[in-house]
Amino acid sequence: MRRKKRLQTNDKHIKNLAAIVGEKEILFHKEDLTAYENDGFTIHSYLPKAVVFPKNTEETAEIVSYLSRNDLPFLARGAGTGLSGGAVPLNGEVIISLVKMKRLLNVDLKNRCAVVEPGYVNLTLTNSISDKGYYYAPDPSSQYCCTIGGNVAENAGGAHCLKYGVTTNHILGLEVVTPDGAIIEIGKNGIMDVPGYDLLGILTGSEGTLGIVTKITVRILTHPEEKKTVLAYFDDVADGSQAVSDIVSEGIVPAALEMMDGTAIEAVESAAYPVGHPKDIEALLLIEVDGISAGIEEQINKILDVCEKRNVRSVKVAEDEQERARWWANRKTGFGAMGAISPDYLVQDGVIPRSTLPQVLGRIREISQEYGLRIANIFHAGDGNLHPLILFDSRIPGETDKALEAGSACLQACADVGGSITGEHGVGIEKREEMRFVFSDKEIEAQTNIREVFNPYYLLNAGKLFPSPGRCGEVKKEEKAAASK
């Protein structure tokens, strides 16, 4: 029974926020808030103070300005599918949920761009322009439900980003509410190369720590003339990894080049979208090439040759769109499928030079043995973006910590070969400490200095992205708090 919400609270902030967004657009009961204590990263849970649902930029700005004046911490949230805890209210933040700002504001086919509100769901964009022959390229596996605002914040990637680039390559302009409530516009709709600093670049991937995105102009592409998809099974992971390197060395730029290992295959085959992969193989590759029809056949033949040379057990080309779609559904639901073989999982997100793939996969296998936890691998092999999924059961005392340590060890393995600790899922809460694997103190400071320019009182999404202590910000905040007393 949906109760008519009447504000039953003595909290003046709740009342004031409700006055901005309306009584129905604010949550503050513990039960409701409990649903917001996590995003896709479930290891740490914190209750927010409240959740508000603005309808437009102005309301967002008004909320932010109120919160900032009253020294209340806050953060933005999209669909809450983030995997590094970016939307977890570490400091009891007021969550500003952007899911009600979900309109497609404009589609400009001539200039190949579209303007969306931040709560607009990634796949909905492609679905609503595909009859006109267009699509939005960044395709995170969570595209059925994640928001484009969240994609901008995390600089999301996806299977087809190997050829087409990640989110940042598709963002042409942003409207942003700054942490003190001002509305600014960055990037002049689709005009390339605005003079001055590349603020679009800084904002994209800033994990919601510099401002709240309220409008986004994105690039849209025409559908490629043709697509062909290959599925190859390998008895040996090393052969599969070599095939990945070989394909790229052949001069082919596949639209997607994905790999799954045996444990991952076990999961997807016992979940909702099985396709009948053999269960005794060590690796499978899902390879897609697209573009103008001429030349596709030749690329496919080269790929088949490479696979043969690398001792493929069997390899086939998708016969029709249905088969292709089934392979992709199986791949794209891979993370969720872990639920079918394990109560919890922790997904890591390291990037390595492609050539070190066999070596790093070997190391991950060792880590799995050292910690006694199973690790599945589903990843964007083409760009060396690994996703080790550490399987554990949080109900067993101590196992969560073990999983975290194993995850960290995987990232260390990536850093050791000159790689990075995140490809697309962000740092969030999860990988703050691991930032030290790849950055010196000085380098981290240079970045926190940038944050200070945008977010001087450090009320917006504090405690994320950089290792603690959050030095300057914390001090400033305390200073401000002291001054206001």
């Binding site: 479930t42 949920s97 969720g336 639920g339 999982y345």
Partner: protein
């Protein structure tokens, strides 16, 4: 023992795990929520999330809250009840979830706990008892009530009631429901009272037992009639067991799992002889298939019986598709669209079969409906208990119904009533029909043509 359906829970509340705030037996199943990895892939599938945008009204949020109570972080309280009872039981999340989390099952178990911790009071109790205990399990009363409503509508009583303002006490949509209610006819079960088996028209190839449904048999007995016609026409002997009863879905959705178990037992007994149980109401079929869940924790013997029973249950469209049917030759010349009833598409995985049947009727042009498998908001008595949300869901559904169709076909009486309300409310003209009716009409026309030749 279990004759009044009460024994299972009459003992004092007991807690088996120290932390859990679920105090009664038949708790939400830990194995079900342990599968959820909080990925959010179910969000967009959920109609109540679409409308509210609120996480606690999403499948993921619901699972999380149910788990939070089990972990002792929350209590079974009014604000917990809200998201749990606002779920439509549409099972769209089950289709969307890559980990196969049985969200619906968890929700029903949680409702069972809530109803025991916080029994209904006041008018809600009255309405619930009236429908769930007083009416649905009793075919005779149901028919009487149907007739009464019609009498109410046609005689001057309706006007009188309106004038005196009595309707204000009645939810608005009950008015709408009464307005679209089909003419009450003679129920199948009454009609075939003296025949144990309705014989196949020609040579009999198979024998099946027909589940006639309770509301279905009173309000939609013409659909039941069509179903029997179509089955017998295709070589099936059709038994209509007299002691069958309401499937119990509405009771289970409302958290009354005791009554659910009682009805389940009666039905399993009634269909003991049958090898195949065919139904035409997706909601009922789905419930029959879920009987094992009701006995999961409380009774091993009945759970096993229920498992065997569930195997025998099949929807009429799938049954016809799998066993074969004559393609009609007469043309029906109509343009229609097909709505996937949640409990057929998400609940039983039946999507293609009814579409194929419709397309096998000559002259049928099918206009695809966008988001055809989105809930229409009927969900049992949901629209009585959650009128606001039900209205929003219906509105969103009606937006997807193509303008230019003459008929909307589907496989569930609950949906038929709800969609008929939608058609009326939004000024549409399409007729709402059951899939087997079309096939039956085509056969009838064929007969007629043959007779005229």
């Amino acid at each position: 023992m279990d004759t009044d359906g009460k024994t299972a829970f009459e003992e004092p509340p007991c807690s088996t795990s120290q932390l859990s705030n679920y105090l009664w037996r038949d708790k939400p199943d830990e194995d079900k929520w342990a599968d959820c990895v909080h990925c959010g892939m179910c969000l967009e599938a959920c109609p109540t999330y679409e409308i509210t945008g609120q996480e606690q009204h999403s499948p993921r949020g619901r699972v999380h809250l149910i788990k939070a109570v089990a972990e002792g972080k929350l209590e079974v309280s009014e604000p917990f009840t809200d998201p749990v009872f606002a779920c439509l039981d549409c099972k769209a999340c089950t289709t969307a979830c890559p980990a196969d989390v049985d969200v619906g099952g968890l929700i029903e178990e949680a409702r069972g706990q809530i109803r025991q911790a916080m029994p209904l009071t006041g008018w809600r109790k009255g309405v619930s008892r009236f429908f769930l205990h007083g009416l649905f399990p009793h075919p005779g009363r149901l028919q009487f009530f149907g007739n009464l409503l019609k009498f109410y509508q046609k005689s001057g009583v309706q006007t009188l009631v309106r004038k005196t303002g009595m309707l204000k006490a009645m939810p608005e949509h009950l008015e709408l429901m009464e307005a679209v209610m089909p003419e009450v006819q003679e129920p199948i079960r009454k009609k075939y009272k003296h025949e144990t088996v309705v014989k196949a028209d020609t040579e009999s190839k198979r024998e099946i037992a027909f589940f006639s449904g309770c509301v279905m048999d009173v309000m939609f007995s013409d659909v039941n009639e069509s179903t029997i016609n179509v089955l017998t026409r295709n070589g099936n002997d059709v038994a209509v067991p007299q002691n069958q009863t309401c499937c119990g879905a509405l009771h289970v959705h409302a958290g009354d799992r005791d009554m659910g178990r009682k009805l389940a037992k009666q039905n399993m007994e009634a269909f003991k002889q049958a090898d195949t149980v065919v139904g035409n109401a997706a909601g009922c079929g789905c419930m029959l298939k879920e009987y094992p869940e009701l006995f999961r924790e409380v009774d091993t013997e009945w759970r096993e019986k229920a498992e065997a029973f569930a195997e025998k249950v099949v929807d009429v469209s799938k049954y016809l598709h799998d066993t074969g049917y004559d393609k009609p030759t007469a043309e029906l010349n109509t343009r229609l669209t097909y709505h996937d009833a949640c409990h057929l598409a998400h609940g039983q995985g039946v999507r293609q079969e009814p579409r194929e049947i419709l397309l096998d009727v000559p002259g049928v042009e099918m206009v695809p409906m966008e988001n055809a498998d989105r809930c229409c908001g009927s969900a049992g008595i949901y629209n009585i208990t959650n009128p606001e949300m039900a209205e929003d869901v219906l509105e969103s559904k009606m937006k997807n119904v193509p303008e230019e169709v003459e008929m909307i076909s589907m496989g569930n009486p609950g949906c038929m009533l709800q969609m008929a309300m939608g058609v009326k409310k939004y000024g549409r003209s399409a007729n709402v029909v059951h899939t087997v009716q079309l096939l039956d009409w085509a056969y009838q026309k064929e007969e007629e043509q043959r007779r005229q030749e």
